[in-house]
Symmetry: C2
Subunit: 209 residues, 2 copies
């Protein structure tokens, strides 16, 4: 159930959108939806089921989100946006110096692994579902592609043995894949993996000990 602070808008007609919607309700919708998506499946979860889980009416859910695609897009973007922003900063700071790129790569992988480890209900396990191909998820896919590109760039600059073997694009896919090991480990209810161990594995992939 929601614990909404109602005093400031008592008596306001429900049909009029609130210009400052209650963040708590929005967050509760996101959390309940994430739990249902990863336990029941995205395709099998209705907005009605989400609303019921939160304890609100379906119409109230539609005040906050256009639909379940919209909810999933927000959930997925939150698993990527902070890392994508950090990646852009780190790449700029590292420039083309191999040692600086290695440091940046470690820092990025560490932060990214920690972010995925804290994602509500392990929503990263939904990255590959077919529905995410829809254009509603363009923003998520674009941010993730940008993040992956930085992994590849930093890896190529930092690495000393990976130039000939694979393209920067494949290297980026490989490095982000290593970081995302957090997702199946959480899925299997394994003990949390140390982000430092993940970041060290990323460095080893590019040939650094």
């Amino acid at each position: 159930m929601i614990s909404v602070e109602k005093t400031s808008r008592a008596g306001r007609p429900r049909a009029i959108p609130d210009p400052a919607p209650d963040l708590t309700a929005r967050e509760q919708i996101l959390d309940a939806a994430a739990a249902l998506f990863v336990t029941q499946g995205f395709g099998s979860t209705s907005t009605r089921a989400i609303a019921e889980a939160v304890g609100i009416r379906q119409a109230s859910l539609y005040y906050h989100f256009a639909g379940k695609d919209d909810i999933l897009a927000e959930l997925l973007e939150r698993t990527v946006r902070p890392s994508a922003e950090l990646a852009a900063q780190l790449q700029q700071r590292a420039g083309t110096d191999p040692a600086a790129a290695a440091t940046a790569l470690y820092e990025l992988a560490h932060a990214d692994a920690a972010l995925l480890a804290s994602a509500p209900h392990n929503v990263g396990s939904l990255y590959l579902i077919p529905e995410v191909r829809d254009q509603r998820f363009d923003e998520f896919r674009s941010q993730r592609a940008g993040l992956q590109a930085v992994y590849g760039r930093l890896g190529r600059i930092a690495g000393n043995r990976t130039h000939d073997e694979m393209s920067e694009a494949v290297l980026g896919a490989l490095l982000i894949q290593v970081v995302e090991v957090v997702i199946p480990l959480r899925r299997a209810d394994e003990p949390p993996v140390d982000p430092a161990a993940v970041a060290a594995a990323v460095l080893r992939i590019v040939g650094l000990g």
Copy 2:
């Protein structure tokens, strides 16, 4: 549409199960189902839609499979079973010798990456969907857990710098995760990744160049 060889059972009543069911029909059901699962989503795909895609009646589909869970289980097991069998052989052959374990690890990763690259419609992208937690998928999950355990074992024996940093279980998860980079790369319609490059990355993870 199915190209079924019907001569040998002309006139046989349809209600009586055929003791030697046509393999082609079964394969066509698996292929059509895989295509639908990865494009429409598993939850959104009905056995009726699968039967329609093949051009058979729903009752005919139920002759071959108990339901769509059964179809997905078979598809997923095929992405793991050959690698799990190879892994058992390789582990026995390698014993506790580090160099032999490194060779075995390379061979396993190479074969496993090639298998995932050839899986129909990239069904490996369904590994993490919630439905796969159901007991109908026990056999798949058991085979995959066994495969992952061999990765961890071989990696620990072969590796020279990974003992303290992470458990054998986490190492196994990390190595299988690297091999499974094939799945998102196929999903993103990237050019096929060389299994040799994947196997080399697996060796680097355990500290071997």
